[in-house]
Symmetry: C2
Subunit: 237 residues, 2 copies
DNA sequence: CGTCGAGTTGACATAATTCAAGTAAGGTGG
DNA sequence: CCACCTTACTTGAATTATGTCAACTCGACG
């Protein structure tokens, strides 16, 4: 958390200690466990400290749409803080460590840490953009390009947290989960994945995915890394 | 703007006068005109005062995805305020009146009007939810259900601004625009539209759309009105 | 009166889904 | 260590939803 912000802004001592207080009480969930169920009163959000998680909603026919895949450093359930009840489910993709914090703390941020509030506002706006990017990808791209988009999205976000990542990473999503992110069936996701491999754009050994032709994936999917376009210059001092 | 907020929160004199200063300099755009082009420096956002507008992005093959349809009272281009440059295009669907305001004002909001800042934060989070809803709709629903979703979305949001709206409204989107919102071709949007009419769920005379079977559209699309689920109780005083 | 933008319709092509069968890897108990 | 599950994944064949292309209608407008 604090690490991520420090890349962009000089934090004060007070700001840093506040952020550290957020992650004081970590708790663990195992793979597949529900971290936060839709319908429950929206009293807390979480910092994802370690592992992968996902936000999704269920449909009556048994299918689900994964709205967002989360990586370490991400905040979970923030959108629901505006609502009386959680409207999305959050589940652990791998075993995870998360740190819950109470909604009441948000009021404190806006009163006492206006700059942190503004930064959270910015991240919320960035999310609106990237949600739009994913919406557009699902709406306009063919299935293969949607898989390419997903790969680029995961790769760039993992890189942002760990600059040592080159073109290989461990993929924790199953084919079914990939299909639930990209709006297709698991069978078709599997086929498109195979095509990307047979074209040489990607390869895969166990869970380790290697991206061989990043420009091709970008061209195919129109992916843009919005995190590099953020502008913190207007923040209050 | 101020009207919309006053429904939820008792605004102070200072807050109201600040909000009124935002809309002091309205300007006009005609149907089809670009209000804000992607790529330009992100120096201002807008209050949409009158008419319909849309946020969209273009694809290399000439197709476009409409990410959001905007109605009077909405803020335009807020997501881009987090970025160095606008990443989305905004176009007037009908003739519109908008009021531009400078990005620098946002810093002032966070410093001097923490509660307004918190409210804007909440709306941003609500947008993340509704973006997820639309993402899910495009990812999981069949074409007819996506059209139903669009109709419910438009109807609900128009109602929120004008409580006199029952089940009829003037639809300013062309078939092509509907298809660009819902991720399909204009031809197919036209067919699904016709099916909804022949089933009796909807009827249409000129641009006036009447919703006859709202429960059916909701059941078909899984639409939820998130605005009714907002909770302002945690706001700073 | 002709033109233009918007919408509709039919015939056909293609992308994606569905269903079903089968393989492979990892975990568990004997 | 092996036999047996379970879960994840792959592949083929048939079906369906959606896209594509082209022709045509209709009303608005100069």
């Amino acid at each position: 958390m604090a690490d991520r912000l420090k890349r962009h802004v000089d934090l004060s001592v007070g700001e840093i200690s506040f952020l550290e207080s957020l992650v004081a009480r970590p708790s663990r969930f195992v793979r597949g466990q529900i971290i936060q169920a839709a319908g429950e009163p929206a009293q807390q959000a979480f910092v994802l400290i370690d592992g992968w998680a996902m936000t999704f909603t269920d449909y009556a026919d048994g299918s689900r749409q994964i709205r967002r895949v989360h990586f370490p450093g991400d905040l979970l359930a923030m959108p629901s803080m505006a609502m009386a009840r959680h409207v999305e489910n959050i589940e652990a993709i791998t075993d995870v460590v998360v740190a819950p914090f109470q909604r009441g703390l948000l009021a404190k941020v806006f009163r006492e840490h206006p700059r942190l509030a503004a930064i959270q506002f910015m991240y919320a706006q960035e999310e609106r953009i990237t949600y739009g990017d994913r919406l557009s990808a699902i709406g306009r791209l063919c299935a293969k390009a949607r898989i390419a988009f997903l790969l680029m999205d995961v790769l760039t976000r993992l890189r942002a947290a760990d600059s040592s990542i080159g073109c290989a990473f461990e993929m924790h999503l199953t084919r079914e989960q990939m299909s639930e992110v990209t709006g297709m069936t698991p069978v078709h996701a599997s086929r498109m994945w195979s095509e990307l491999i047979s074209e040489g754009a990607v390869s895969c050994d166990k869970r380790i995915v290697t991206i061989h032709d990043e420009p091709r994936l970008v061209a195919l999917s129109g992916f843009a890394n919005r995190a590099t376009e953020l502008d913190f210059s207007w923040l209050p001092s």
